[in-house]
């Protein structure tokens, strides 16, 4: 017996479902925010697109446990496989930007932008690259999870 079967049976027991679904609704945005935070800080501190993407997938996984496949799909809005394709394209695009400066593939470009007063933000193609990784990891993990969940 797999956990998804357990969940399926458990769904009939309303009690558990309510606790889990409430928790999921509440935790879900928090975890997603945390994953975004991990993505952004990865360049300077432990973290990065990969771990961020995994955590995001965990958030949707939790939602999947609490609700069902259809609900999760609806929440995700976009087909996870398309997400993989998009992520790969983002990665490719971030690598290609170097061409505009006549540099080889994957050459990083950085820009320094002033937000307000003293606050500066540094944005570079490696961050976009990392975001692409985030998308691919999320998409791939969700593809697997949804497929496995539908099987059971």
């Amino acid at each position: 017996m797999g956990p998804f079967e357990t969940v399926a049976k458990g769904k009939k027991k309303a009690m558990r479902s309510i606790i889990l679904s409430t928790a999921a609704r509440f935790l879900m945005p928090m975890i997603l925010l945390f994953s975004a935070f991990l993505l952004l800080r990865g360049h300077n501190l432990p973290g990065g697109g990969f771990v961020g993407g995994l955590i995001a997938a965990a958030a949707f996984g939790l939602y999947l446990l609490a609700f069902d496949v259809q609900e999760t799909r609806r929440l995700l809005r976009i087909d996870p496989r398309t997400l993989v394709g998009l992520g790969l394209l983002v990665v490719l695009g971030s690598g290609l930007t170097g061409w505009f400066k006549g540099k080889p593939f994957l050459t990083a470009l950085w820009g320094r932008y002033r937000l307000t007063g003293f606050l500066h933000i540094e944005i570079g193609t490696p961050l976009i690259f990392d975001a692409g990784i985030y998308l691919v990891v999320l998409g791939s993990a969700m593809t697997m999870l949804l497929a496995l969940a539908e099987e059971d």
Binding site: T82, G85, L88, L89, L92, G102, K103, P104, F105
Partner: protein, 503 residues
């Protein structure tokens, strides 16, 4: 163009991404796949002409200087291999338009095919050992999925063996790579080569060479490490096994050639002698395996093994002519083997069986297919004046020149055995009549799906014409192969091209 060496990787990558996004729109997906394949071919040819002119094309990814970033290096050997990968890829893409069922199509056949091409081209271009590992894995992952896609029983059973043995090979590769990094502290292949020329622990280096030999040997299907190949290659749809047959083992061969011409050349009397022994065993066991098979694709699969033996033979002899022979052989083999698998696919489509004991009469029912079979089959067997004759001829000449009569004689003998198994197919499936025991299912020929006949035949005709061209005018390719060999035999030029330093 500054990024030309990256394009053979990027174009399939982009194509695959686009196909993934349009999984649910089959027409769009097919269009992307075809355009991507053609673009890949064009840029591969551009790369080939560029390397012909300049010798080496080096791209430092991310603009980081050589031993620190990742280098993509295209020498003549690489660009030849990439051109072949692109040719195969294009042929298979067209063939797949007709030959792949809609189920596999909507479950990602095209993206995986193109990611496979990306991995293969990455392997050919990688100038960095770890990067080579990564491309190996890209190629493997794509091949795992393509092999299993569809979930037929045979596919899954063969897939299990294929996957496990190839992963073990990857583990060996990674092990050897880790130790090598510990030893020389660098990953760039040119840099490693430079360090290994003066490395202290020569015993350890030779042991590492053995570890690489095993790791790449599994992927190249050398004796006795080839078992995964005959277990799996005949199980997936023909479009898949054709691309496998043409390209995958050749990546292993490429890696072996690269490693044993660039990195491990200090103890040639040991390493290359061993390679020669392995080559002999590989040729012989492969062809004997082929002789006793009764399935169309099984025979062809075993032949891949014996042909890999020939390619490695050139590496073992290690003279300019021998290496030129190896390069020539690889080129010839990829074209011919892919084509033979495609022919077997049409045969299967016509009669729904691959068992030679149930096939027959193709000469009268499909005469054009018979010609398309004969050209690559006779070329594979090494009959003049087809491409396979020259390929074998160069190697045998090289072996006699080096007074290695035994391996040369074996090469000739294996050629004869190849002829036996090729004529076996011809005698049974083309000349013979359908055996009386199974007339009802296989005697009457099905029609190819309407409107798709051209898509089936176009790749086969093109590949057959290529074989003929190489056979009748071997000079041009031989010239290229010779230049490639002379580059391979001069690692210092490679090191200089990548690192920009002289030794």
């Amino acid at each position: 163009m500054i990024s030309l060496p990256a394009l053979p990787i990027l174009i399939p990558f982009g194509t695959a991404s686009l196909c993934l996004i349009s999984l649910k729109r089959p027409r769009l997906q097919r269009l992307a796949a075809v355009l991507g394949a053609v673009a890949h071919l064009i840029c591969a040819l551009a790369l080939l002409t560029a390397t012909c002119r300049q010798g080496y094309l080096v791209l430092q990814a991310g603009d980081w200087p050589a031993p620190f970033g990742i280098s993509l290096v295209a020498d003549l050997f690489s660009s030849l291999m990439i051109t072949l990968a692109a040719i195969t890829g294009t042929a298979i893409t067209f063939y797949a338009l007709a030959g792949i069922d809609s189920g596999r199509e909507s479950f990602g056949f095209y993206p995986f095919l193109h990611l496979l091409l990306m991995g293969v081209c990455g392997c050919f271009l990688a100038g960095d050992l770890f990067n080579l590992y990564v491309w190996f894995e890209v190629m493997l992952m794509a091949s795992f999925i393509l092999l299993a896609l569809g979930g037929e029983r045979g596919q899954l059973e063969g897939g299990v063996k294929y996957v496990i043995l190839n992963l073990v090979a990857s583990a060996f590769f990674l092990t050897a790579l880790g130790i090598l990094y510990g030893l020389v502290g660098t990953l760039n292949m040119a840099d490693i080569a430079r360090h290994l020329q003066t490395a202290e622990q020569s015993g350890l280096v030779s042991a590492l060479a053995m570890l690489f030999l095993v790791a790449f040997g599994i992927k190249a299907a050398l004796f006795p490490l080839f078992s995964w190949l005959p277990a799996s290659y005949h199980t997936p749809p023909v479009a898949v096994s054709a691309v496998f047959a043409g390209l995958l083992t050749k990546v292993g061969v490429y890696a072996l050639v690269r490693a044993f011409t660039l990195l491990f050349i200090r103890d040639i009397s040991f390493t290359h002698e061993l390679i020669l022994v392995l080559a002999a065993m590989t040729m012989l066991t492969g062809v004997l395996g082929a002789v006793c098979q009764d399935g169309f694709r099984r025979i062809l699969s075993f032949h891949i093994i014996s042909q890999v033996g020939y390619m490695i033979m050139g590496l073992g002899i290690f003279t300019p002519l021998a290496l030129a022979g190896t390069v020539f052989y690889i080129v010839h083999h990829i074209i011919v083997k892919t084509n033979l698998f495609l022919v077997s696919g049409v045969a299967h489509k016509l009669r729904s069986t691959e068992d030679l004991n149930r096939l027959g009469g193709f000469l009268s029912t499909a005469p054009f297919l018979s010609i398309l079979f004969l050209i690559p089959a006779l070329s594979l067997a090494g009959l003049p004046p087809l491409s396979g004759f020259w390929a074998k001829f160069f190697l045998i000449w090289a072996s006699f020149e080096e007074k290695r009569y035994l391996i040369g004689a074996l090469g000739l003998l294996v050629g004869a055995l190849t002829l036996i198994s090729m004529t076996k197919i011809w005698l049974k499936a083309f000349w013979g009549t359908v055996p009386a025991a199974h007339p009802e299912r296989h005697a009457h020929q099905k029609k190819l799906p309407p409107g798709k006949t051209a898509l089936f035949y176009l790749p086969m005709i093109s590949l057959a014409l290529l074989t003929l061209t190489i056979g009748l005018w071997p000079g041009l390719l031989f010239e290229l192969a010779q230049q490639a060999a002379s580059q391979l035999l001069d690692p210092n030029r490679y090191i200089q091209a990548v690192l920009g330093v002289t030794l």
